[in-house]
């Protein structure tokens, strides 16, 4: 297959690569930068980001968002979803995008409730 048949633009066309190999290296650099930011934040743990948003630390929200960004570029450029037909793209991505947040939502809400019960109940857990 000729290289011209790949879609070579990332960041919504902001960055265009000349060949598929170049795009691969470009995505690697991007993923490395994101990972470095994550690790640096994880080690420093800036005091400003320790505030809470929706019962979770802002720092943790940043980690999760950066992870999803990384997952997007791995799937879209390394696994070539960018080059697949729309139907296949949806068949792969939609079940995951719907089911994973759904499961996470239910179980985390339930866990938070159990935490409240254990915290405010009359049974001592730490003895």
């Amino acid at each position: 297959m000729a290289a011209e048949e790949h879609k070579l633009a990332i960041f919504r066309g902001l960055l265009k690569f000349k060949s598929n190999q170049q795009k691969i290296w470009g995505v690697l650099i991007f993923l490395s930068i994101v990972t470095t930011i994550e690790v640096a934040l994880g080690i420093i743990k800036p005091e400003i980001l320790s505030g809470s948003f929706l019962r979770m630390k802002i720092l943790n929200w940043i980690f999760i968002i950066l992870t999803i960004v990384k997952a997007y570029y791995i799937a879209w450029d390394f696994m070539h979803i960018r080059d697949e037909k729309g139907g296949l793209k949806n068949a792969i991505v939609l079940p995951l995008v719907i089911l994973i947040p759904y499961l996470a939502f239910i179980l985390l809400i339930e866990a938070d409730y159990i935490f409240d019960v254990m915290e405010t109940g009359f049974v001592a857990w730490n003895f």
């Binding site: 297959m1 290289a3 048949e5 790949h6 879609k7 598929n20 190999q21 691969i24 290296w25 690697l28 993923l31 490395s32 990972t35 994550e38 690790v39 934040l41 994880g42 080690i43 320790s50 630390k57 943790n60 980690f63 999760i64 950066l66 992870t67 990384k70 997952a71 791995i74 799937a75 450029d77 390394f78 696994m79 070539h80 080059d83 697949e84 037909k85 139907g87 296949l88 068949a91 792969i92 079940p95 995951l96 089911l99 994973i100 499961l103 996470a104 179980l107 985390l108 339930e110 866990a111 938070d112 159990i114 935490f115 254990m118 915290e119 001592a124 857990w125 730490n126 003895f127």
Partner: protein
């Protein structure tokens, strides 16, 4: 027909496998469906981890205090550096894989061989690193006591604020207790190896050194572990029932029991995926060398294995976030 390698079947009838839905071959579609279902399996694991963590949100172990080892840097506190390195290794082996797929599209056998070899090496380094992480985790570092209620008590030197190892401050008392073996006791009872120090020895050493205090599992508002005063510590240590060194599936010195269980289960399951990925990559590597795909006319097999390999990388990105960062 963008990135897919040209399959051997030409355009034929609609039925009897003649056409290709979504412009992807049968094998590639099935690999994608497997990946989707496997992704949901990992979701189940990680969400179960989240469940246990939210349930114990004020007493969960702090990951960067647990994973602080780096090869050849003994005694130096290096939180997460090694895991970050492992992440880079896996991302890099993902890149060599995608380069192999790209070379396959251009039918460059030598390049595919070289990149597949690099991918295999990267995967092997990752699995080895994972084994090393497990070894450190199982061995433990400071040791701890467990109370009747299953809470872990760790020790801190109140002068320096650093963790104190029970093996160092425990004071030996002459104890005749040895590990029970099948040969010298009741034949139907067995016992795993005893901890290096006994509870009485830890108690004696703790009473003798006045600068030691107990650190509990509980977290304060800032997310740090609560450290008791010396007086509270002397009371608290009376609740201890057992010495815990390192980690196993029943208890671990880092804190909540579920923490070690999930660590073994999730990183183990992921490590198993990496291991099978390495094995499959080796098979494909030899197939490339003997020219199987050259004769077949396309390198689509490399692409399918590549999908699996990238998926393993993708899962690690999430495991890394939820186990080590968050």
């Amino acid at each position: 027909m963008e990135v897919t390698a040209k399959a051997s079947t030409e355009e034929g009838p609609v039925w009897e496998g003649g056409n290709k839905p979504f412009n992807a071959s049968y094998g590639k579609l099935m690999m994608w469906f497997f990946i989707v279902s496997d992704a949901l399996t990992f979701t189940g694991f990680l969400v179960a981890y989240g469940f246990s963590r939210f349930k114990n949100i004020n007493s969960w172990p702090i990951a960067d205090e647990v994973f602080t080892h780096f090869p050849f840097l003994h005694g130096i506190d290096a939180p997460m550096y090694y895991v970050a390195l492992m992440t880079f290794v896996l991302i890099f082996s993902s890149v060599t894989m995608v380069l192999a797929v790209d070379a396959g599209h251009h039918m460059q056998k030598a390049k595919v061989t070289f990149y597949m070899l690099l991918t295999v090496i990267g995967g092997a380094i990752f699995v080895g690193s994972q084994a090393w992480e497990w070894k450190n985790f199982i061995k433990g570092e400071y040791g701890a006591l467990e109370t009747k209620g299953g809470q872990i008590l760790q020790f801190v030197n109140s002068d320096t604020g650093k963790r104190a190892a029970i093996q160092e401050f425990a004071q030996g008392i002459d104890s005749p207790r040895t590990t029970h073996q099948l040969s010298n006791g009741i034949w139907y009872k067995s016992e795993t190896s005893l901890p290096t120090v006994s509870l009485a020895e830890v108690n004696k050493g703790f009473a003798a050194s006045s600068n030691l205090v107990i650190r509990t599992e509980q977290l304060d508002e800032k997310g740090r572990k609560v450290v008791l005063s010396r007086g509270e510590s002397l009371l608290k240590i009376q609740d201890a029932t057992i010495v815990v060194e390192g980690a196993n599936l029943i208890r671990n010195e880092y804190g909540n029991r579920l923490f070690a269980d999930f660590f073994f289960f999730i990183t183990g399951f992921h490590g198993f995926h990496v291991f099978s990925g390495v094995v499959i990559n080796i098979i494909i590597f030899f197939n490339v060398i003997v020219g199987t795909y050259e004769r077949r006319g396309h390198y689509e097999m490399v692409e399918k294995v590549g999908l699996y390999w990238h998926f393993v990388d993708l899962v690690w990105v999430f495991v890394f976030t939820f186990f080590y960062l968050v």
